[in-house]
């Protein structure tokens, strides 16, 4: 019997790409929200919060993601709350990326010079008026490219969820299953790479459009 690449295989990969995309968007969103709150909290003048959250970030960024997947999944099972591998993976990915986002957010908040914030407060603005109208817009423009880079990395990191054996599989695992059957690794990996490229490139184009909008208005000094 001859094994060849079928239409079903193609749709199997499209499904995998869809799962990769959804995992990226969902964990990117959750992780950004968490990372924003963590990074913001670390700019508060509170020694304890700064160092506690700093330790969280250090651990998250220093332990390989694949270990975090397994540890979190096992930990929940031991506690008596076994999770669906997708949910478990999604939470792990969100926590993981939040550690990186937190540092980017902190840098963004700190990119507004102290005197600019004093000027805003000096006009009678409250802390939140200053934060929302001055610090956020300046910070977003400063660290948006770095954040985009994190999201592109996250998309490729989603493939490590395979260690939890989630089905249906995401793009890379789907590709490996097809490779095992038809023994055509080069063609399939080329195809999988093309899928990743198209999805990442879409994010890049989307991000570029925002940045160019700011530049055209001469908002970036």
């Amino acid at each position: 019997m001859i094994y060849t690449f079928t239409t079903n295989d193609f749709w199997f990969m499209v499904q995998g790409a869809g799962i990769t995309f959804v995992l990226t968007i969902a964990s990117g969103f959750l992780g950004t929200v968490m990372g924003f709150l963590i990074g913001w909290a670390r700019t508060a003048p509170n020694f304890l919060i700064y160092h506690l959250l700093g330790a969280y970030i250090d651990v998250i960024r220093s332990v390989p993601l694949i270990i975090q997947f397994v540890l979190f999944n096992s930990f929940m099972a031991i506690l008596g709350y076994p999770l669906n591998p997708f949910i478990s993976g999604l939470i792990t990915l969100s926590i993981y990326i939040s550690g990186y986002v937190a540092e980017v957010v902190k840098a963004g908040i700190e990119s507004t010079p102290r005197v600019t914030r004093l000027a805003a407060r000096g006009l009678g603005m409250t802390y939140f008026q200053d934060f929302y109208n001055i610090v956020l817009p300046i910070g977003v423009r400063t660290v948006f490219p770095a954040w985009t880079g994190l999201m592109l990395g996250l998309m490729k990191d989603t493939s490590l969820i395979a260690v939890l054996g989630a089905t249906p599989p995401e793009l890379l695992r789907a590709s490996q299953i097809i490779i095992n059957r038809i023994q055509e690794p080069l063609m399939i990996l080329l195809g999988a790479g093309a899928f990743y490229f198209v999805m990442c490139y879409a994010i890049t184009v989307f991000a570029k459009r925002y940045e160019q909008g700011w530049e055209q208005k001469k908002e970036i000094a």
């Binding site: 005197v115 004093l118 603005m125 001469k218 970036i220």
Partner: protein
């Protein structure tokens, strides 16, 4: 009226203000002079509560600035402050730099706030720069923008922290002209400055800071032309 009573302020072990007493009447222009690090700029930040004080009291129109009962955000509307370093909001046009606080703090409508902003931009000679971003303005224009932004809140007092020190020499004049105009209009100002000719011409009184205290204070012309104390003579001798 601003009343400063025995104000002390330390940063860590360094005591920057060691008991400052000063009254500034409505309509008065007072210049603070003295070497860098003598506490002049810190005092300005303490007057509108951008820095805390360790001891003493500051009253602005009989409001105790550092009392926990005082709404400091509200109080700061009375006191415009302009800094040495450029601090225009880089993501906003000149128009929106000036109209932002009237919209957010005074809850004016966008139309009213922008109308007000145009008036103040014209007043400081930036009527043709309304739609420019700060990056497109010169240093002198950015400082005048900062002045217009402060004036749009209709403050009773202006605190000026070496507003010409970061400017190229040929741009200093245009900013000083703007301040002269404000003094003539009766604006109450406390200005930290190294521009002695300006202080002599515009200020009613001058206070000389030395090592965290007001070493000598007096009518502007008297103090600058014939200082009584030795430290003041030395300082003026060095910079004039």
């Amino acid at each position: 009226m601003i009343e400063i009573r025995d104000v002390h302020k330390s940063f860590g072990k360094l005591e920057v203000l060691k008991g400052i007493d000063l009254d500034v009447e409505k309509g008065e222009v007072v210049c603070l002079i003295g070497a860098s690090g003598s506490g002049k700029s810190t005092l300005l930040l303490c007057i509108n509560a951008l820095e805390r004080i360790d001891r003493g009291k500051i009253f602005v129109d009989d409001i105790d600035v550092h009392s926990p009962q005082t709404n400091q955000d509200h109080l700061r509307r009375k006191l415009g402050i302009i800094f040495q370093q450029f601090n225009a909001f880089p993501h906003l046009t000149a128009l929106n730099n000036v109209s932002l606080a009237p919209r957010k703090v005074l809850k004016m409508t966008t139309t009213d706030a922008q109308e007000l902003a145009v008036q103040h931009l014209e007043r400081v000679g930036l009527g043709d720069k309304v739609d420019q971003y700060p990056a497109q303005l010169s240093g002198g224009q950015q400082q005048r923008l900062a002045i217009a932004r402060a004036l749009a809140m209709n403050p009773d007092y202006l605190l000026l922290d070496e507003v010409t020190s970061a400017l190229d020499p040929e741009l200093v004049g245009e900013v000083l002209d703007t301040l002269r105009m404000l003094a003539q209009d009766g604006m109450t100002m406390i200005a930290v400055t190294h521009e002695m000719p300006f202080a002599r011409e515009v200020a009613d009184r001058v206070a000389f800071f030395h090592e965290g205290v007001i070493h000598e204070v007096g009518a502007a012309k008297d103090l600058i032309n014939s200082p009584k104390k030795k430290r003041t003579q030395e300082f003026l001798g060095n910079i004039l």
